[in-house]
Amino acid sequence: MKALHVCKKALLPFFVGVMYLFLYLPIILLVVLSFNASPYFYAWDGLSLQWYRELFTSTEVWQALQNSLIVAFSAVALSLLCGVLLVFYLKRRYLRKTTLLFYGTLAAPEIVLAVGLLSAFVYFAVPLGLLTLIVGHTLIGLAYVVPMVTSRLQEMDDALLQAAMDLGATRGYALYSVVLPYLMPTIIGAGLLVFIISFDDFVIAFFCAGASAQTLPLYIFSVIRSGATPMINALSTVLLAISSLLVLLFSYFTIKKGGGDYA
């Protein structure tokens, strides 16, 4: 009877353990294989850094990384700028309803977003490239920035703004000196989130980047499709490390200082 009880108690942790193994076994294997001297994943020939060497000397990877970074930084800058200005300058009573306007982006499957943009670009004969990609990623960025900043601003005491204005600050100066510092943790958090979403995005890039602009996810896609090289293991490991770092930064800025339930 007691053994049965212990069994029942251990069942849930055991199940959770198995599920975490399911979630992390592929990633662990990937990281281990990135250090494998053998090019075959079924043979272990000892430790080696050759795939990392190959990775860092590949001009195609550097070019794709450069494109990805240009797009990601532009999308972060644009969506933060437009988003924060909107939230700050919009009359308070319209804020809730306007925020709803931006939820649509996330409610639709990503492919619908991509196809919509592509249809419009094709119809107006807009050449596809990094610019069209930035347009798409900024759109997704706004869908995160506007709700996050709105919910943070609504936590703020209006008296702070009132006091600044009473003391003679213009609205612009009050934004700069009072509101912006208050919103900063959320703005940084949202910026990190938009950055990684843009940096990782495949679907929008697949449709809206055209043939000339290759981002990192597009590069990975083409390599996997044409028979992957072990270099992809090394690239994946580097990307995983970057992701982990960004999650830690994100939770540092948002969870400690408030900012909501955005994973």
């Binding site: 959770v16 990937l30 200005l85 909107l86 499957p109 492919i111 249809s119 495949f202």
Partner: protein, 289 residues
């Protein structure tokens, strides 16, 4: 005169500040959606759209297209259900049982959100190949003598779909269970309910909002998914996403692609609405706050 112009301009500044984001959203989200609908009624030749027609839609009244839609729909429903069954215990454990390890486990759960999807999909090849990790482990233990075919079939598709979408299910359920007040469970126990009764009659109904959110966070993107079924199914089966991308990127027939996007979009909306009604049916009317 000059003075008043400046004054009126100044009062208009807030308007200009609000415009960029709104214009962006309307110009690049809502207008393109209308465009998809618009060009779905056109016929296309050499990037010229002309002749309003229903013909594109008529094409899709055929069994092969219905099968593509059904396949995506059942993949989305199947993935959501498996994610729910596997994800609920995880969310429950994280919210109610894991004490010391909670933050680490949450971090590990959120990390995939921030990780490149292609990296996650690619990681499975080394596991599921004929000479991959799983087959080697199984034959090492002695459970199999010939390697199993684990790739290029629906098994592989479902495994990786669940793998990728599981966190989307767990997080919202966790968020609800974490806020669940102990008093309710205490009251249920004091009134003589067994733990199982408490779970079915108190915990589960009170977590329906999280389940609903999680279900749709998985269901909607899974319906449009084409990368995972493509790689894991060996490009053997057509899904909604793969057909749309075929029309747009390979056949270069945006009109047909748009028409199929509209058809599948409508099906998605109808399906999602019906599922939503189902969830509402099982949600207790008087929600305790």
């Amino acid at each position: 005169m000059k003075q008043s112009l400046r004054a009126s301009l100044k009062s208009e500044i807030p308007f200009f500040m609000v415009v960029p984001a709104l214009v962006w959203q309307v110009l690049f989200f809502y207008l393109p959606l209308f465009f998809v609908i618009y060009i779905s009624f056109t016929q296309q030749e050499n990037n010229l759209f002309s002749a309003h027609t229903w013909e594109n839609y008529a094409t899709f009244f055929a069994w092969p297209f219905a099968r593509v839609l059904l396949r995506s729909f059942s993949l989305a429903v199947g993935t959501s259900i498996i994610c729910l069954l596997a994800g609920y215990p995880i969310a429950y454990y994280l919210a109610r049982r894991a004490e010391r390890w909670k933050n680490v486990l949450l971090f590990l759960l959120v990390l995939p959100f921030w990780t490149n999807m292609l990296v996650q999909v690619y990681a499975w090849f080394a596991l599921l190949e004929r000479v991959g990790f799983v087959n080697r482990m199984l034959s090492y233990v002695g459970w199999i003598s010939t390697p199993l075919t684990l790739l290029n079939n629906s098994f592989a598709i479902y495994v990786v779909m669940v793998y990728y979408y599981l966190p989307f299910m767990v997080i919202p359920i966790y968020a609800v269970l974490e806020k669940l007040q102990d008093e309710y469970l205490q009251a249920s126990r004091d009134l003589g309910a067994t733990p199982i009764q408490t779970f079915w009659r108190v915990t589960l109904p009170l977590s329906m909002s999280g389940i609903t959110t999680g279900f749709f966070l998985v269901f909607i993107p899974a319906f449009g998914e084409f990368v995972i079924p493509g790689f894991m199914g060996g490009h053997k089966y057509m899904y909604v996403g793969s057909l749309i991308s075929y029309y747009y990127l390979v056949a270069r027939n945006e009109s047909m692609g748009a028409a199929f996007t509209v058809v599948s979009g409508v099906l998605l909306l109808v399906g999602a609405y019906m599922l939503y009604r189902l969830f509402v049916h099982f949600t207790p009317a008087e929600r305790a706050s």
